[in-house]
């Protein structure tokens, strides 16, 4: 994959994505954003969002050039106002008549594909690299309806066996509908890789559980189970320990499955992604990712949230530097084409309801 211009005549070089953000720098931006949001009773949050997004985009660099985020805060503020309004209206309806509230949820679900597409279009059109805007196919609503409504609904009846297929379709939706200028992204991922990722993650989880069980059993045997009247306090200790261990189990062990699954499917998807003459390579390592996730979590908890910015920069740097672009080193073949505007409602709504579109 090194620069090789002699044999094929098609020079190809390896271009890792760089991330130049720093924890201390982002901390200052984050805390000022927070305090201005508090002092303006939340109105500044739209400006804060744009500033944060710009900080991360401007520090993400390919071929020596940063990305740029173009959304105007006032667009986002309008979107947020609409979402909050809708949410309050729903709360009122649900309070007055829970059945009507349920119907409102169903209607909202009907709009979900439209919202996802709108959010993707908004995000893409407001992102650029070398001043070439990204774009997203606004006609992908039918596909969105399948990926985000129909398949998840069907998967209820298939014991999760459809999950890898949904992930596969989600990535295909996010990538194959995207463009940079006039150049389309393509994805040639094999469905089998997603099922492999699912079962590898599952095996990993089972392996960890079994070894934890064995370790726990051996330790108990060595200490010996307490008997007799003096064991009362030991029993109390146990009664306290059991729920704590259960909590630790859910917080520490279960996420390993999700981290592994996400990392493996992201690798599978990006490794099969193409943009014009460029190939991508994603080199995420499950162990490294687990370490970052858990040490981040610990740092955030121990610092009562003050290390949040540091943690976010850290994970972003890891994700960025493990994405590598291969292809002609002079990245000048992309063309703008026509520019289009986008409104912010979709973006905000999806943010609010935590729609995960598995984006790049």
């Amino acid at each position: 994959m090194n620069t090789d211009s002699s044999s094929t005549g098609e020079p190809s070089s390896r271009m890792p994505v760089e991330f130049t953000g720093r924890g201390g720098e982002y901390f200052r931006i984050w805390i000022v954003n927070l305090v201005l949001t508090i002092l303006t009773l939340g109105i500044y949050s739209a400006w804060a969002k744009v500033r944060t997004k710009r900080y991360f985009y401007r520090n993400t660099i390919i071929g020596g050039s940063p990305f740029e985020y173009h959304a105007r805060p006032i667009q986002i503020l309008k979107g947020r106002a609409m979402v909050v309004g809708a949410y309050l209206a729903y709360g009122l309806v649900n309070y007055l008549n829970p059945i009507l509230g349920f119907i409102v949820i169903l209607v909202f679900l009907g709009f979900l594909p439209w919202l996802v597409v709108r959010a993707s279009v908004f995000n893409a059109r407001n992102s650029s690299w070398r001043d070439i805007r990204f774009n997203f196919n606004p006609d992908a609503k039918a596909e969105a309806a399948k990926v985000f409504l129909l398949f998840p609904f069907l998967s209820i009846f298939t014991l999760g066996l459809l999950t890898p297929y949904i992930t596969y379709r989600g990535w295909r939706f996010a990538i194959a509908n995207a463009r940079l200028g006039t150049t389309s992204f393509e994805i040639h991922a094999k469905l089998g890789k997603y099922y492999a990722a699912f079962f590898i993650s599952l095996l990993m989880l089972v392996g960890i559980l079994v070894s934890l069980f064995i370790i726990g059993f051996l330790t108990l045997q060595r200490i010996g189970l307490p008997y007799g009247p003096e064991s009362m306090s030991a029993m109390r200790m146990q009664a306290m320990l059991v729920p704590m261990l259960a909590a630790a189990f859910f917080i520490l062990v279960i996420p390993i499955f999700f981290i592994a699954y996400r990392a493996l499917t992201r690798n599978a998807s990006l490794n099969a992604t193409q943009l014009g003459p460029y190939q991508f390579e994603s080199t995420l390592h499950v162990g490294a990712l687990c370490w970052i996730a858990f040490s981040n979590l610990l740092a955030i908890v121990l610092s009562v949230g003050l290390l949040m910015p540091w943690a976010r920069v850290r994970i972003t740097r890891y994700l960025a530097t493990n994405l590598i672009m291969h292809g002609p080193p002079d990245l000048d073949a992309f063309v703008q084409g026509t520019r289009l505007e986008a409104r912010a409602l979709g973006e905000e709504a999806s943010d609010f309801f935590d729609v995960d579109i598995g984006g790049v």
């Binding site: 130049t20 953000g21 720093r22 720098e25 982002y26 901390f27 200052r28 931006i29 805390i31 000022v32 927070l34 305090v35 201005l36 508090i38 002092l39 400006w47 500033r51 944060t52 710009r54 900080y55 401007r58 520090n59 071929g63 020596g64 050039s65 940063p66 740029e68 690299w129 070398r130 001043d131 070439i132 200028g181 109390r236 009664a239 306290m240 917080i251 996420p255 999700f258 996730a293 981040n296 979590l297 955030i300 908890v301 009562v304 949230g305 003050l306 949040m308 002079d330 990245l331 000048d332 073949a333 992309f334 063309v335 703008q336 943010d351 609010f352 935590d354």
Partner: protein, 334 residues
């Protein structure tokens, strides 16, 4: 002096490195692009506000972009040209240590006040706006569920039940008619000596607690404590407070991802155990006031608590309550 800058024409993705000449006196920038000499007056440019140490973005009137890594040079140009750059002052806040410290202090103080005082006050007001009848929806289902999982039939004598029920209604008679007050007897089993209040006015009393009590007044004050939870609408307030805290943590961490939820788990736990201690204090106060009004010695309540704390397991009446020492203080300080 010349600065390195990167030029993009807005049409294609080629990048050209140029030597940017910044002329603060004449308020203009110029650079050589191939054969062409480009020259712009600062008034015609859109310069992005400074953002950390990221390169400055300059938009020219003909739709081109310049990325300039040297932020200081651009700041000098902006100052000399007196052109407006919206949001410039934000970087000044971010770059001064004292403003950053001030921001930390304000944020921490705000979260502290909101979690400690704001949310409980708001929850109280909202809870009392909800009609009592809305609370009754919760009661019956909860009892049915508890009967299936935990309780078995009470083994108290009819006589005991009648005496206790009489005491119960002597506590309840002063309260609003909207509640469906009733006293239910169950064998606690796993949860031992305990008493619960459901939001609709149902109070569940376990045989084990009655067996631990030496006088009827002791049980009467426990019932008063439980009815205190009902009239102060603690269940509903707990629900409102928990969901508001979750929203607050979401707002601070800035996302709704699972990592944020996990990171918020510990502070949420701490805040909520603080809330539930406050509720217990309120209910204790209610029992104390009731005891004084009826001329019952508040000592009865403490006596029962002391006896429970000697033998109580981990799942009993005291497990979710403040320490007996703390509560004794409430009862003896007054």
């Amino acid at each position: 002096m010349d600065r390195v800058a990167y030029f993009y024409d807005g049409q294609g993705s080629s990048r050209t490195t140029v030597r940017l000449k910044i002329d603060c006196q004449m308020r203009l920038i110029k650079f050589q692009l191939g054969q062409e000499q480009k020259r712009y007056r600062t008034n015609d440019l859109v310069i992005s506000p400074r953002l950390g140490s990221t390169p400055r973005r300059i938009e020219t009137p003909d739709g081109c972009i310049l990325d300039v890594p040297d932020n200081e040079a651009i700041d000098q140009l902006i100052n000399a040209s007196e052109i407006p750059v919206p949001g410039r002052w934000i970087h000044r806040l971010e770059s001064k240590f004292r403003y950053v410290i001030l921001s930390v202090v304000i944020t921490v103080l705000f979260v502290w006040l909101l979690a400690g005082y704001g949310i409980p006050v708001i929850a109280k007001h909202v809870a009392f706006m909800v009609p009592v009848t809305a609370n009754s929806v919760l009661g019956e289902d909860v009892l049915v569920a508890l009967d299936k999982v935990i309780f078995s039939e009470s083994q108290l004598s009819i006589n005991d039940k009648q005496k206790l029920t009489k005491r119960f209604f002597s506590v309840a008679e002063s309260m609003s008619d909207d509640y469906k007050f009733r006293l239910v007897f169950r064998r606690g089993g796993k949860i031992g000596a305990n008493a619960f209040a459901l939001p609709d006015g149902t109070v569940i009393l376990t045989d084990e607690l009655v067996e631990k009590a030496q006088t009827l007044s002791e049980v009467e004050l426990v019932l008063a404590h439980e009815l205190g939870h009902v009239v102060y609408r603690h269940s509903l307030r707990q629900v409102i407070q928990s969901s508001t805290v979750a929203l607050l943590i979401m707002a601070i961490t800035g996302d709704v991802s699972s990592a944020a939820v996990l990171a918020g788990a510990l502070p949420t736990l701490l805040v909520e155990s603080h809330y539930s201690r406050e509720f217990e204090k309120e209910a204790d106060q209610f029992a104390y006031d009731y005891a004084m009004a009826r001329g019952i010695s508040p000592r009865h309540f403490i006596n029962l608590l002391d006896r429970l704390s000697d033998t109580d397991g981990d799942l009993g009446f005291l497990s979710t309550h403040p320490s007996v020492q703390d509560r004794s203080q409430i009862f003896s300080a007054q």
